[in-house]
Chain length 326, copies 2
DNA sequence: CTGAAAGCGCTTACAG
DNA sequence: CTGAAAGCGCTTACAG
């Protein structure tokens, strides 16, 4: 490499110990302001940056937060979440690193390679990975900030609530017979399952018939086929897995010569940029990403500071953006 | 941590040297097949994973490839590129880690923390960062695979070609007076500048008047304003910075009661999922991401293998997806 | 207030 | 064919 702490020590006329104390900002040891200043100045002048590998080896810790993304297309919402999270944490000297879950390399190799302070999983971990990371003193968090691995069989409260919000809005607009637009991409099933369950439960709670579930591929002809089948069963509104799928339903409606919202209402999820630009503008469920990001960041920082009380969960942060499609 | 190479050595009845030789697969040293088998078996049984920090400290290298994203919303195209890249490289034991460029933490801290094998920048680096990384033996690549830092003042050939493709298509369809839909997000200016330059040059080459450049925000009313001004100047087709902006132009056209493509043609860039679902389906310029990803991966691997000849540049990999909007 | 020394876990010449 | 030993650069009790 280049400059080491020994270089800085020699140039400043002090020991490496002193350099380390000054640069890591340990207040316990008393070092004259004059010495501190000199060491810092020398470090800057030489362009010294401590070797993270050495520091990690010594302390068993780094200043990195590792986010593990799943194997599916995450979309703009997660992207924004990651950006916000990076913002929140960078103020405290932590860097966010993202791993796109593809690739055969095992998770173990990855976290051992990075020695992160915390790992945030956007999909469930294998039980053994989870155990090994905890063992190594790494803080492991789920997307929703759960400290403990949720039972993967248990539905996510947030996903349930998303589906419920779609149904409640549609029902309040007088829609009675609902369709559910299921994503064609099989990797999205994990989330789709929970959202659909939320839709089902809300329908039951409101006395509506069970929704007609149909897969919808992301092109107009395929969507038109689903639309025809829905119409055949008297469906007057569709809750879609997300905005992309909702846009496809809109295109299918158009292809069939049907008008939205008159003939059929449509609600999406995510509020992507294209949603407000659709014809008609798409009504959709939006998640408050800032809220989510701040909560995740607070959780990481609370652990960093060793503070006992964890920040409270901020709630789902969901709200319905009402436009013209429903 | 947990298990170290010393544990594996003791359990296998050999020295740490032997463990290291077996596990890193050095063929130079002759070790009996029997011993190799025993060491490997023990390692697996104990769940041994070498400490990357120690290895990095010792060798000055890791198995990580660091991708530095810029401060702007990257969108689905870059996301796909990263996924593909991760796929290509994971076969060779390299992991791709992505850093979203926000945050005040300096790039120096980051690459020293990760000790990556290679760094791929999706936006230009500062001259001093570039120098320091090279100094540390890190391979530094640009998005287009340039080994050498391109002059930031020089326009990107690919971006120029994107703009040119848009114009050539529009001109071939008989459009004469072009508008350019400039993105409202200032962070996108770096790319927008080059794409616009490509549009300008192509217009000049084809004997068309210079395009009318107008900023377009991502909502219908704002876009409608721009559309009105374009129409006032006789514009009969618009080349948009990307698909999101093109979708906004489409919405603006609708709001003004104009029809597309009859009254005004529109061409986007990226071919996002929403493009084919738009009304009318959006004609757009698509980049061959697989090509790009494979090239980048090949470059990294060539360096890894110390092979002298670099893989040839695969070309822009651009093509026009013709739908109904132009 | 400051320095000498140990040790984090690994790889790799160098001896046997 | 295998082992003892050095050293990567840092932090941190422990002496002075």
């Amino acid at each position: 490499m280049g400059i080491t702490s020994a270089d800085v020590a020699r140039e400043s006329g002090v020991s490496r110990t002193t350099v380390s104390y000054v640069l890591t900002g340990r207040d316990g040891v008393h070092i004259s302001e004059e010495t501190r200043r000199r060491v810092r100045e020398t470090a800057v002048r030489l362009g010294y940056a401590p070797s993270a590998a050495a520091r990690a080896l010594r302390t068993g810790r780094s200043d990195l937060v590792l986010c593990i993304l799943p194997d599916w297309p995450v979309g703009p919402v997660i992207e924004t979440l990651l950006d916000e999270l990076a913002d929140e944490l960078s103020g405290r000297g932590l860097s966010v690193l993202v791993h796109h879950g593809r690739g055969q390399r095992s998770l173990t190799d990855l976290w051992r390679a990075v020695t992160p302070r915390a790992v945030i999983g956007f999909a469930p971990f294998a039980e053994e990975d989870l155990h090994a990371m905890r063992q190594a003193g790494i803080q492991v968090l789920g997307t929703r900030g759960e400290e403990h691995q949720p039972d993967p069989a248990l539905p996510s409260e947030t996903q349930l609530e998303i589906g419920a919000l779609q149904v409640r809005h549609l029902a309040a607009r007088g829609r009675r017979r609902l369709g559910y637009a299921w994503p064609a991409d099989p990797r999205l099933e994990v989330f789709a399952r929970d959202r659909l369950l939320g839709v089902r439960r809300a329908c039951a709670a409101l006395g509506l018939p069970d929704p007609v579930v149909l897969p919808v591929a992301l092109d107009a002809p395929a969507a038109a086929t689903s639309v025809r089948r829905w119409r055949g069963q008297g469906v007057d509104a569709v809750a879609a897995y997300n905005d992309d799928v909702a846009l496809a339903v809109l295109a299918g409606l158009r292809a069939e010569g049907l008008s939205c919202p008159e003939d059929c209402g449509v609600v999406g999820v995510d509020d992507i940029p294209a949603a407000r630009l659709a014809a008609p503008p798409l009504t959709t469920v939006s998640q408050s990403i800032e809220l989510q990001a701040r909560f995740l960041a607070a959780l990481v920082l609370a652990d960093l500071d060793g503070s006992a009380e964890k920040p409270g969960h901020p709630g789902h942060g969901l709200h319905l953006v009402e436009r013209e499609s429903a």
